[in-house]
Amino acid sequence: MLQRFRNYCESVNISRLILIGHSYNYFASLIPYYYINSSIDASVLQVKQVKPRECLIFEPDEFITYCHPYKFDENSLFIFVTRTGSIQINKGIEKLRKYDVDIRKIALVSNNDNLKPLAHFFFPIFCGDEIVIGSNSFPADILVLYFITRAFMNQEIISKTIEDEIRQMIFEIKFYQQDWEFHVSSLNDFLGVDYDFLYFISKGTSLSTAYQGALNCKAYLRLFGEGISFGLFLHGPFQIIDNSFRCILLVSDETSIEDTVNLINLASKKLGSGRIILINNNRSLSSLGRANKNVWVFEHTTQNPFLAPIFEMVVLNYLFLDQALRRGVIQ
């Protein structure tokens, strides 16, 4: 299917992917958004852009209510991302059909095989059932969207390197899971429960984890949380930093490390002695973090910034589970 998708994109010169999905599906869509639109990471990963390509993402409600599909030319392909399907996803597809969009330019990423007839390309996510919404499907979305994006970019979809990278990540995650109680216990001892709000501050692809983390924090932990980019945080709500400030910093690439360090110092030393959990994949950043007693560093080994959110989310999910126990939200 992925190969067929790649051939189709090449044959009809698809240059724009438009992704539409709710909540965690929307956040997972940030992976293709950065993969396709970002130039710096593309060069780091030696992505060769033979022709200009781009990616837009919409939330289904805004797509249905506000977006006029007429503006998108014949080089656009629409991908709906939905675990089970929804009325709004159906409406979105209906809208495209109403505007005579060729069904071959409609794709679905889903766990529900019954949706197959709605789109020409159907990419299953094989995520099974889940008790906490998004727990299995968010990582599965990321992985499948990553493959789709590589196909769209006319690259070898699952190269030996990519396969090794993914298998290694799964191995590391399983390793982490074996000892999760120990890891999370230390993390949460450090974080404590004496706070009412948790910030998830990030940039680039890890923003998907930050947004999903904030959402899970509210939906599942019943604790207020907000996902926010570094830039917005540093120009805005830093005024609320005090000694009870708690945040999770998520970094999965090497851009602007100085700004990350500045933010850490601001939150943990200058404006208060807030506590920060730094989840990252960079050795030098980890070293800088470890030098600060108000920072707890979790360094994972997934170097690929487009896959790192999968590992980041695993760490956060266990952290939430333990926090929920400590707070008496679950038993």
């Binding site: 950065y34 977006c67 503006k71 030319d73 680039g204 805005g236």
Partner: protein, 376 residues
């Protein structure tokens, strides 16, 4: 609180009193009118014409609006305009936060994109680095625009297409500048998507908008008190936007709430609200201290959809405050006693966030006064 020491007269020093900030907020209408006068009086006609030609002739593939905080929030207006236009346009439009643009979106070669930077001061570190990079990659100078209050920025020799914000000074950073930025973004986006930025109809509608804002200003106390009473001693506030443009007001409103009142507030799009924050209303600890404000800036929204969504929220909370620019929605919501309705009229729907923000800023100021966070 946001402090802006460099842009107001030296005789003024933080902290300010309630009256000083309130009067500065009152000035926003004159400041916006003055800005509009410059843009409507023909001064910019040839410039707009030139810019339209650039957009048409250069085969632009992407348009970036790039800014920080309130500048970034204000650019959400262009996103909705891009979504809604029924014209066949050959480009995509992106609103990107400045440091995200610097870290990830700087092109490695000229890509036929139009870059519109928004910076009140026109001299931020990232802005300079971005512009320098674009020049190094030989981006056509005509494709770098700047919306700023500083016409004499050191970047002006390299950026020829500058749109001024015409703000004399402001006490609270992002108050007048947010409002004027929305207006200028609105006009520039019209140019980009092929709509006339100046017309007698548009001017007349804008005049009525200013008239409605002025009327609100004259009666601000009663509505503000009503909203403050609704919020009472809230611990957490959600400002929910129904339409993409209203996200601008939701995001900046949340930022101001945090700055003024030190209370945790989040601006959020309605669909995201129903996947996370919605569940938090079910929590056992102090759910009554969570307040919700819903912003409806457009006339597109279907009344029954909104009614259903509002009722879903009301199943979990005592009351909800709705700021509505939609007469149909207002008519339905007014019947419910648990809905506190503040309706306003922004005929130019894309400018509704100005009105929404104008209402909200007085509320947070008043709460800051009540909490004795301002200078006496």
């Amino acid at each position: 609180m946001n402090r802006n020491p460099s842009s107001f007269p030296s005789s003024f020093q933080w902290p300010f009193t309630f009256e000083q900030i309130r009067d500065d907020f009152f000035d926003e209408i004159d400041c916006l009118t003055s800005c509009a006068d410059h843009y409507f009086n023909g001064e910019f006609e040839s410039k707009f014409e030139k810019l339209r030609q650039i957009v048409v002739e250069r085969s632009i593939s992407k348009v970036f609006f790039i800014g920080n905080t309130y500048s970034y929030f204000a650019s959400q207006i262009s996103r909705q305009m891009f979504m809604e236009t029924a014209r066949k346009i050959p480009f995509s439009l992106y609103c990107v936060e400045l440091s995200e643009f610097f870290d990830y979106m700087l092109p490695s070669e000229s890509e036929g994109a139009l870059y519109i930077f928004i910076s009140k001061s026109g001299k931020s570190r990232f802005l300079k680095s971005c512009v320098d990079h674009l020049r190094l990659t030989k981006v056509d100078p005509d494709l770098i625009w700047l919306i700023t209050n500083n016409e004499n920025t050191y970047l002006s020799p390299t950026i020829q297409n500058i749109f001024q914000l015409f703000i004399p000074h402001e006490f609270v950073l992002g108050s007048k500048s947010f409002i004027n930025t929305i207006f200028v973004v609105y006009l520039t986006t019209r140019v980009i998507i092929g709509e006339k930025p100046q017309s007698t109809t548009l001017q007349a509608r804008f005049s009525r908008f200013i008239g409605d804002l002025t009327e609100y200003k004259q009666n601000w106390i009663s509505t503000t008190d009503q909203i403050v009473q609704f919020l009472s001693d809230f611990d957490n506030l959600y400002i929910i936007a129904r339409d993409p443009a209203s996200m601008a007001a939701a995001l900046l409103g949340a930022l101001h709430a945090k700055s003024f009142t030190r209370l945790l507030t989040e601006g959020i799009y309605i669909s995201h609200f129903f996947h996370g924050p919605f569940q938090i209303l079910e929590r056992k600890i102090h759910p009554q201290n969570i307040r919700i404000i819903l912003l409806i800036g457009d006339h597109t929204t279907n009344e029954s959809t909104i009614y259903r969504l509002v009722n879903l929220i009301l199943q979990r909370t005592r009351e909800i405050l709705v700021l509505s620019n939609n007469p149909g929605v207002s008519q339905i919501l007014r019947k419910n006693e648990r809905i506190i309705l503040v309706d306003f009229n922004a005929e130019i729907q894309l400018l509704a966030p100005i009105f929404e923000f104008f209402i909200l800023q007085f509320v947070f100021l008043k709460i800051a006064e009540k909490k004795e966070l301002l200078k006496k």
